[in-house]
Symmetry: C2
């Protein structure tokens, strides 16, 4: 390579690094969208085109829909939007696993039928007999009376080894490759990407950072009261079971307002619990993109919407049609679902 060419290549590299708003402190992770196609796991079609055209219009300084980087806020629901939510939410699986771990030190738990059902991961009994109250008790046993540091370590360890009960895959593999590519595409287009989840913030923060490469300060979740205390003179925050904020439904725009202070420019959900967040996005003064992930693929993932107990999507589906929001059809719009299918897809080309 000639000297002038080398300088030119160097300049281009630097110029890419120097783009304003590039989230340089957070390494780009595995999704690696190519420059040519930022969404390689999406099939060609209306959904992919809508997303790419929208992002292009936002970053086009000369276009009518240009938005400056500080207002490029993207908010994603987690369960069912970025990862599988069947047979149940990951945090519930974590809870059952943690009950099992803690039970070793609690011989007094042996006669407790709720705890025994949890240890057996007997979701049918837990749902049918113990319901939300039972889950509340299990959450209290596993999520409180522990410092935030200890809890973080427990979540981190769980993520390393825990496997999905149906597929036997690691949980961290049960995430949606097309959404990973979208997150990376947005980050590279200088969007500030957030997760806005009903899950507890201390759980979600560890999960979202590891699974999606979204920094921990960009995680919004449900919150319980924390007690400031000292152990051997060292300050700690003790987790309690006293819920002070539920980050679902109309809680989502409230949390987005109080934690971010700007309306989303792009927002993805997958259930009726995301309606208000999508409406809040839709109310952005700039042209915005609100979207649902529709679980339509019984073969490769799960198919459910109106009648489902988990991830009910009914009112949202109607409203999306009425307002012209994007509805992503997993079966039709996604070439592959999970990251581990990438190699296969590439080989099959």
């Amino acid at each position: 390579m000639k000297r002038s060419k080398r300088i030119r290549a160097f300049l281009i590299t630097l110029f890419l690094l120097a783009s304003p708003g590039y989230p340089a402190t957070h390494e780009a992770r595995s999704a690696q969208p190519s420059a040519a196609d930022p969404l390689p796991s999406w099939n060609e079609g209306a959904a992919k085109t809508t997303i790419i055209r929208f992002v292009q219009s936002v970053v086009d300084k000369k276009g009518p829909n240009y938005v400056s980087p500080e207002s490029r806020i993207a908010t994603f629901d987690n369960d069912g939007t970025l990862c599988v939510e069947r047979p149940t939410y990951f945090q519930v699986e974590f809870t059952l696993n943690r009950i099992k771990v803690l039970a070793e030190k609690h011989p007094d738990w042996q006669g407790d039928k709720l705890i025994q059902a949890a240890i057996k991961q007997d979701l049918a009994t837990l749902r049918g007999k113990y319901r939300v109250k039972g889950l509340g008790k299990l959450m209290a046993l596993t999520h409180s009376g522990i410092t935030t540091d200890e809890f973080e370590l427990a979540v981190r360890n769980w993520i390393k080894t825990a496997k999905h009960p149906t597929t036997g895959r690691l949980y961290r593999e049960m995430i949606f490759q097309p959404m990973l590519e979208l997150i990376r595409y947005l980050q590279e287009s200088h969007f500030n990407v957030y997760v806005v989840s009903v899950a507890g913030i201390d759980f979600m923060r560890v999960w979202a950072e590891e699974a999606y490469g979204i920094p921990r300060e960009n995680i919004l979740g449900s919150r319980t009261k924390l007690k400031y205390d000292k152990i051997n003179g060292r300050p700690v925050l003790m987790k309690s079971s006293d819920i002070i904020f539920v980050n679902d439904g109309d809680g989502k725009p409230a949390a987005i307002h109080q934690m971010i202070g700007r309306k989303p420019l792009l927002s993805f959900g997958n259930s009726d619990g995301d309606i208000e967040m999508l409406e809040w996005c839709d109310a952005n003064e700039h042209k915005s993109l609100a979207a649902y992930i529709h679980h339509t693929d019984a073969q490769r993932e799960w198919a459910y919407d109106r009648g489902s107990r988990i991830g009910t999507l009914s009112k949202g589906l109607d409203e999306a049609r009425e307002k012209g929001w994007l509805v992503v059809d997993m079966k039709k719009d996604w070439k592959i679902i999970f990251p581990f299918q990438k190699a296969k897809a590439a080989a099959g080309r």
Copy 2:
């Protein structure tokens, strides 16, 4: 300039822009520290040296105290730390002013003695007779039953014209020039700078963005419940007077944990309400810098600490001595106090 020199200059410019973690989306504001001296309004001495050496050690990749940019969290209290808090907090002044504005549409308020004291800005009566309960009533009248957008506009308008009762200066001029320089120095050293204030988040967000150039998503404050509603089909968040979180004392580390998820690496406060935040900073796994601003300058600002009603600094002063935290002596350590003294100081050199 020769071509090779031009290329070199261009490369250097790009290289500076490309430094990891540079908060490129947020313009640097007025403080303009020179490359030679990032803190020109600080007198030479132990405080200035401690701060500069600390920041240099954090960014020194080869040194033992290097911290990667994503963990460079700086948290600042607001009232008394970044701006004047006498005769009372800015948000209280805003409240009294807003009562006056609203009174024009409320002839029914004419017989209300609390409201009349507020309109007269009669702090003695308000404090002596009506106390916290009276302030609570005034806050409810001015801070609730209004959408977050309307409230933001009211704060923005107030900031534009409101004047400090003692000095007659605009409130936005009653901020500490040495702290502005410190904020800018930290931002340029790739710290993520936050305000952590007992003031309401919707007030503080507008204030801190305008006064200090700290982006709105980096503001932590007290929170009241928000009600998601629709006006003519358009979604809004209505402010209520139902306080759900008080961001003071042991609330500060809790909020820092739940909103940022990392311990501060540097933290400045000025009162006993900041003790827990500074302890939380002190507990950082990296070498950290916890500091108090000590109001010692009766001539140029105010002098108060242990006996004061506003900004009491007593237990904190003892703890700072015990733990070796930095205590900034305003009289001794600051060359000038306010931005409008800059020109004078330069002329007097």
